[in-house]
Symmetry: C4
Subunit: 345 residues, 4 copies
Amino acid sequence: MLTVADYVEAAPGRVPENVWCYFEGGANDEVTLRANVAAYGRWRLRPRMLVDVTEITLATTLLGTEVSMPFGIAPFAMQRLICEEGEAATARAAAGANALMTVSTLTTRTHGEISAAAPGGPRWLQLYVLHDRGRTLAHMQEAQAAGYSALVLTVDLPYVGRRERDLRLGFQNPPPDLHLPYAKLFEATPALTWRDLEWVRGQMRLPLVIKGILTREDATLAVEHGADAVWVSNHGGRQLDGVAAGLDALPEVAEAVGGRCEVYVDGGIRRGIDVLKALALGANAAFAARPFAGALAVDGSDGVAHVLSLLRGEIALGLGLLGCTSPAQVARSHVEPTLPYDSPA
Amino acid sequence: MLTVADYVEAAPGRVPENVWCYFEGGANDEVTLRANVAAYGRWRLRPRMLVDVTEITLATTLLGTEVSMPFGIAPFAMQRLICEEGEAATARAAAGANALMTVSTLTTRTHGEISAAAPGGPRWLQLYVLHDRGRTLAHMQEAQAAGYSALVLTVDLPYVGRRERDLRLGFQNPPPDLHLPYAKLFEATPALTWRDLEWVRGQMRLPLVIKGILTREDATLAVEHGADAVWVSNHGGRQLDGVAAGLDALPEVAEAVGGRCEVYVDGGIRRGIDVLKALALGANAAFAARPFAGALAVDGSDGVAHVLSLLRGEIALGLGLLGCTSPAQVARSHVEPTLPYDSPA
Amino acid sequence: MLTVADYVEAAPGRVPENVWCYFEGGANDEVTLRANVAAYGRWRLRPRMLVDVTEITLATTLLGTEVSMPFGIAPFAMQRLICEEGEAATARAAAGANALMTVSTLTTRTHGEISAAAPGGPRWLQLYVLHDRGRTLAHMQEAQAAGYSALVLTVDLPYVGRRERDLRLGFQNPPPDLHLPYAKLFEATPALTWRDLEWVRGQMRLPLVIKGILTREDATLAVEHGADAVWVSNHGGRQLDGVAAGLDALPEVAEAVGGRCEVYVDGGIRRGIDVLKALALGANAAFAARPFAGALAVDGSDGVAHVLSLLRGEIALGLGLLGCTSPAQVARSHVEPTLPYDSPA
Amino acid sequence: MLTVADYVEAAPGRVPENVWCYFEGGANDEVTLRANVAAYGRWRLRPRMLVDVTEITLATTLLGTEVSMPFGIAPFAMQRLICEEGEAATARAAAGANALMTVSTLTTRTHGEISAAAPGGPRWLQLYVLHDRGRTLAHMQEAQAAGYSALVLTVDLPYVGRRERDLRLGFQNPPPDLHLPYAKLFEATPALTWRDLEWVRGQMRLPLVIKGILTREDATLAVEHGADAVWVSNHGGRQLDGVAAGLDALPEVAEAVGGRCEVYVDGGIRRGIDVLKALALGANAAFAARPFAGALAVDGSDGVAHVLSLLRGEIALGLGLLGCTSPAQVARSHVEPTLPYDSPA
């Protein structure tokens, strides 16, 4: 297990196929799922030499949360299906690395259990805004009480995408015997509009991240409606197939935001240099989920810790070889588009 | 059978190979046949979030014909070769879904039989203009009498394309024992010119669609000669190999038309998002044939109904995830070109 | 045998492998050899509809030579290695179709024998200009006496390219027991310069074609030095590997020539639509060699006749489907570049 | 063994797999390793005809060192692992061809032994600048005493790249029983800055080459800090994966240098035409290492001599077919970008 890809590739077989499909698959033809990974190949790095890179620090602050590196764990649901300890396993590893973990509303552990398992770790809550505003508020308050330090509102799920791999393999979602303490707080949200953000901001002082933005138009609206961060995401290729890869949408979003709030991106991260490319294209941090699903499947909490360690090492080495000593030094000039090769075979 | 592609892939083997080649194949090297499908990969979707998409309607009106969605069945010939009930099977499924069916001149059922099998369904006539104008007129009148509500004049068959798959497998076209009630109304039309459109328009009050246009120049001429709609098509890749995919030709045609008449496109549609891309690039509706040939082969009329239902579902879900509540809301800004990926493998 | 490709693919095995390599192979890695074929995929056709194409003629005149179509046989050497009758077989088929044949200096039949085998057929002489001007002049005069109506001077062989396929398979060039009546008239020509063209033009009244031009700079020089035609060619990918495909170099050459002389192209032609693309990009005619080597191997003179017939048929059908009635009508607007497809697989 | 690729492909199996991985592999996913080779396919040659190319010379002078051709041997370490004679074998072959050899600091033979084995051959020293300046100076002086005529300072190794092939196969670097006379002179150099160049230049009169530059910014700095040559290199794809291929970075570096010092490039050279492309894009010379590692593995010093001879032959033939008689005549107009092909398969 030398690379993140090793975990992703080793995971099938550790979990029943008709369960693993849920974590691995995307919507429809999975074009966007594949694009998420492939997009990183469109950019190459421009390293600078003869810079003193003896001292390298990866630490950064995201919406006031201090973390050990500009990379965190994106929300993914129902982790107990992969490993008995579930989200607590992930949380322990993340806290041990002081890495940010975003907890899904569809967690199999309560926010209290997660906090108890890994006190003090940096954590944010992924949530939906429901018709039932009372429940939504209670959910946010429970997360805050558990020490979560920001809200990540998912906005790309007015309807649930069609995940045909699940249908073919007969994955029942959610599995009938799986305890999901906040199952009632998961809801497709076709009626949600920008106005509803104002309600969230009026209820809570926690920073608010809008997750699921793919266009400059929506990025601008998010800033205008008071978002503290825009999270560029296509929901892991699980919602509308055929949209841009996360990295492909990042430049236009970052340009539209223009520094008025933080910007994150997820989808397809497998290497430390992928994180560096995201930073160069305007992200404050990048997130990934599938590598951690794979790590949980292969080796539980230790696997997650190893993946975090591998990526941390790759980011640090990459920074040094790029001629930078901190994430903040990574600039647009450190990347350029990769031209397609001719292949008259 | 979860997707349209499932039907297309399952069809071979349900029909003798030397017959199925006729439905599946294209001209010469089938470059254009493959391009029709691949062209959809050149465009990606730009979804908008936090729009109220609770109420979604797919209904639209095409040249006065009210249909349940902006997608219909393109003409394809000799359906009895696939399923005993032939065009009547297709017509029943289409009428059941209130989806538009375009009936080929090379139908194995008379227009009267089709109407009787599926009364009231929205149907148009695909036809050729013959040297023998009397026969042409009679054909149009018979279709009108059967309730067909528009004429779709095929103009890309001055000569019949060379379909080498048929030649290799020995498909005899038309099969000697197949009853084709309008066989005499099929004719390569090398002498046909724009002037002949005026004759059609002088004879009939039905709206006139010009099918087989691939250039801005011809789109402009069609409008100038009074076409009510331009149908962008390369005849399913069966005429001149090496021309543009339907979707690739659509933008220049739509721009040339500039809203002066309706625009349709066919070729390569396999997914609901393909229809959405066509709408975004200027089409009022999209059409497909091979998915329905496959559906007929696999499951007769029920197969056709299922494919219509699958596509309807995908279009509706796609609209919602795109942030639109009706076909008319799909705009050019909902798509952008997909850049090629680098692959230095 | 329905297509030209059928002959090309069937040929190996009909001739000993260590001989066939000579006809099939190119220089070094054969990048240019493959590019010659692939280049045609970079352009797609733009067909025009509703043009009266009842009467189609392919006949044209090339430097005063009347031929049945804008496509001919490029020079290729030592045809007796493929079929006992050698160049006479090719000549009979070409004359039967009134198609232009260019006879290689490395012919295994004398010009007189070729003329006797196929009197009256349109034929040109491919030649080199030697240090020994007397021999060169005698060669030109012998060809003229045999009824050849133009001289095609090959200028891309200052040294012989490295054909590694031949080296690997042990092809001895020329084979020791093969009679080559003009073997002494073949010579690498590193000292040849533009001034030498003036000498040729001063000796003979036959039109002079300069074969082997790949740049606008050399095309301009050829016109300035009195060439009657420029033949765009990379010598079938057999000289400098890594140069442009014939079709790729054609547009810049045609633009530089600007109608001041005729323009031809060879390399990679396998279909009638390839010829149409060459015409659209500025060629007066296109030429091919390997299809005829394959045809000779499979079926001797009859094979050559069949390939000529197949291409003639495809050119005629393609013209009609393009909305043209003669080669002269094919214009730049009948083609456009094909965009690369995205393939994030 | 007809080509350089023959040697590269034949080498595995001649050396234990867990040793050969060190020579063959690159960093991480080896994207840059593959890109180095593929980049040459992005450019095609534009040959000029009817130039007198009877007399061709490849000889050139690099920083005052007279060499037989504009191509040399890039530094690669620990050659005794491949062949008992080690660097002496390479040096004998290089001297025999009067080709430039750059000797790695991680040589298994002393500079004195190399000089004794191949007196008079053109050789340069690859080195690092250490914290311990005394040792660095002694190293430079020893090389100078051995007749080395320039210093090649590697600047792209602030940290050692992660070569996962070595990790997977258990290659121990350096092998415990391998004598490396200058092992203590190898050091990752994270604190090195442009100012340190001034120290080198103050100590030695030998010309100074800065190796490992990939951007116009650093090329400009190198010139400003007195470099006599800039060597464009990504360290054979062994340092930061995801950076540009050597050839891809060459144009911007050459433009920034603007003739103010010499420019070299390495990475991916397999053919004589690759060298010609590098010259056309602004290099004074190109270098390669892996072909010589392969040659050593297959046939020791004779293999190296054969690879040098093959490349020399290909460069000479390529020059002639390009219409040039010396490396200095190869200009930017002799190459152009190769457009990607469409492949709707």
